[in-house]
């Protein structure tokens, strides 16, 4: 279970939330309302106050890199630090097993990053986080650059992972996606998180 207690930083008002295993939570809201800031704060990427714990372990008790391996943030803009796609994956072999399901053909792992489209980068950035086996995935608009068919592929894979017990917090502009993916739906407005009536 992911437990968030009074997590806050500039712009973001204190957020408290408990998310049990195998649950997906969605957050919608206008640009600049603080959705990404909340995900970053949960991943401990920005200075913030409040407490966050996973399965009873407070994040301050473990190193930041160990925390982020368990609670992994996938940004809306993916970052790539070397030329070859495969070099960004800790377990390229495991990742290769998912490529076809995500709509890839051929040996994308040997491609240069510059050859990838925006949508391809988005899916690969999600995959490279997923194959590291995190307990929580914090996804910032993971399908914003994808067509409906590819979006469905990504959602199906995510459903499978959620059923397997991982926790997903997804930021999306798409109300339908929020409906398809999440058990609990939230809105962010001017830094205040509130649950939508189901």
């Amino acid at each position: 279970m992911l437990k968030i207690e009074a997590l806050s930083r500039a712009v973001l008002k204190p957020v408290s939330l408990e998310v049990p295993d195998g649950i997906c939570v969605s957050i919608r809201g206008a640009s600049g309302s603080g959705k990404s800031l909340l995900l970053r704060a949960i991943a401990d990427l920005d200075p913030c106050s409040g407490r966050v714990s996973l399965d009873g372990t407070d994040r301050s008790q473990i190193t930041a890199d160990a925390w982020r391996r368990r609670v992994t943030y996938v940004a809306a803009d993916s970052g790539w630090w070397t030329d070859k796609v495969g070099d960004h994956f800790e377990y390229p072999d495991i990742a290769a097993g998912y490529l076809v399901r995500l709509g890839f053909h051929g040996d994308v792992m040997s491609w240069p990053v510059s050859r990838l489209s925006t949508g391809e980068r988005q899916r690969l950035a999600l995959l490279r986080a997923m194959v590291q086996g995190p307990r929580v995935l914090l996804l910032d608009e993971p399908t914003s650059a994808l067509d409906p068919e590819t979006t469905a592929k990504v959602e199906s894979l995510l459903h499978e992972k959620i059923n397997g017990g991982i926790i997903v917090i997804i930021v999306t502009h798409d109300a339908h996606q929020a409906g398809r993916m999440s058990e609990r739906r939230f809105r962010m407005q001017d830094g205040v998180l509130s649950e939508e009536a189901s």
Binding site: L45, A64, D65, R68, R69, G79, W80, W81, E90
Partner: protein, 265 residues
């Protein structure tokens, strides 16, 4: 040593070359005459003042005065290094980073050189200490400001790349590996180029000066080699030290990328 002493007339004759240039510039309206004359005048005044200060300083041989002048030089070098940055740290470290690393590198290398190769007696004799310090500072300053500029630019522009790695659970050191490599390279390029081209493309200034002043070329080369090694060592040490401080300031105990500590000019 057959050393040809220069008269003021000799120097005035050399300066007349600039006057010819200035005349040409005025005739063809190139607009460079004024700048040329201002720069030349500044140089004459600055160097004359330095000569007077050095003369007085060499005369006294006081450890405290030497230390004071040395610290003032480091302070100016720190300012100069900071002024060349597009991005600086907010607060003390904006000025302190370059200054601290240059102080470290220059002090270590200068004292090392004074104590071993030069056998200056007393070791703080300003006749040796001040020129060596000045030379090392000049080179270290260039290296440190180039490396720092590159590191901070890469951190700022490469935020998505660096934070992608942090988010995946890489340590800050791992995430900064590429920017750090690139910055170290940038800082050491002038030193490496200087060593590689020495003697082939140009005769280094100090060696040329010594040869003109009548020193045997082999002796001049020995001095030049010593100086190049001191400069190379000092620059590398200063750059390394600046990078370690900068990396620490760019992150915090939770291994975040703290670009909020930077001010972009």
């Amino acid at each position: 040593m057959n050393y040809i002493e220069l008269s003021y007339l000799d120097i005035a004759l050399a300066a007349s070359l600039l006057t010819v240039n200035a005349g040409l510039s005025i005739y063809y309206r190139l607009g460079t005459a004024k700048r040329l004359l201002v720069a030349a005048t500044r140089m004459v005044v600055q160097l004359t003042l330095v000569a007077l200060v050095l003369k007085a300083l060499f005369h006294t041989v006081s450890p405290w005065l030497t230390l004071l002048v040395g610290l003032a030089m480091v302070g100016f070098a720190g300012r100069e290094a900071m002024a060349r940055q597009d991005r600086t740290f907010i607060g003390f470290w904006g000025y302190g980073l370059g200054t601290t690393s240059m102080l470290m590198a220059a002090a270590i290398v200068t004292i090392f050189a004074l104590a071993t190769q030069f056998h200056a007696d007393p070791w703080y004799d300003p006749r040796y200490a001040i020129p060596i310090l000045g030379m090392i500072l000049g080179n270290t300053m260039t290296g440190v400001s180039l490396a720092l500029d590159r590191l901070l630019a890469e951190a700022d522009n490469g935020r998505a790349r660096i934070e992608a790695r942090l988010a995946l659970g890489h340590t800050f050191r791992e995430a900064m590996q590429e920017p750090l490599k690139s910055a170290m390279r940038a800082g050491l390029i002038p030193t490496v180029n200087g060593m590689a081209a020495a003697g082939l493309v140009s005769l280094p200034g100090m060696m040329t000066g010594q040869i003109l002043a009548g020193v045997d070329p082999v002796e001049a080369v020995k001095y030049q080699l010593l100086v190049m090694f001191l400069l190379g060592g000092g620059t590398a040490l200063g750059v390394f030290c600046a990078m370690m401080i900068a990396l620490r300031r760019l992150t915090d105990p939770r291994q975040r990328l703290r670009l909020d500590r930077l001010r972009v000019e």
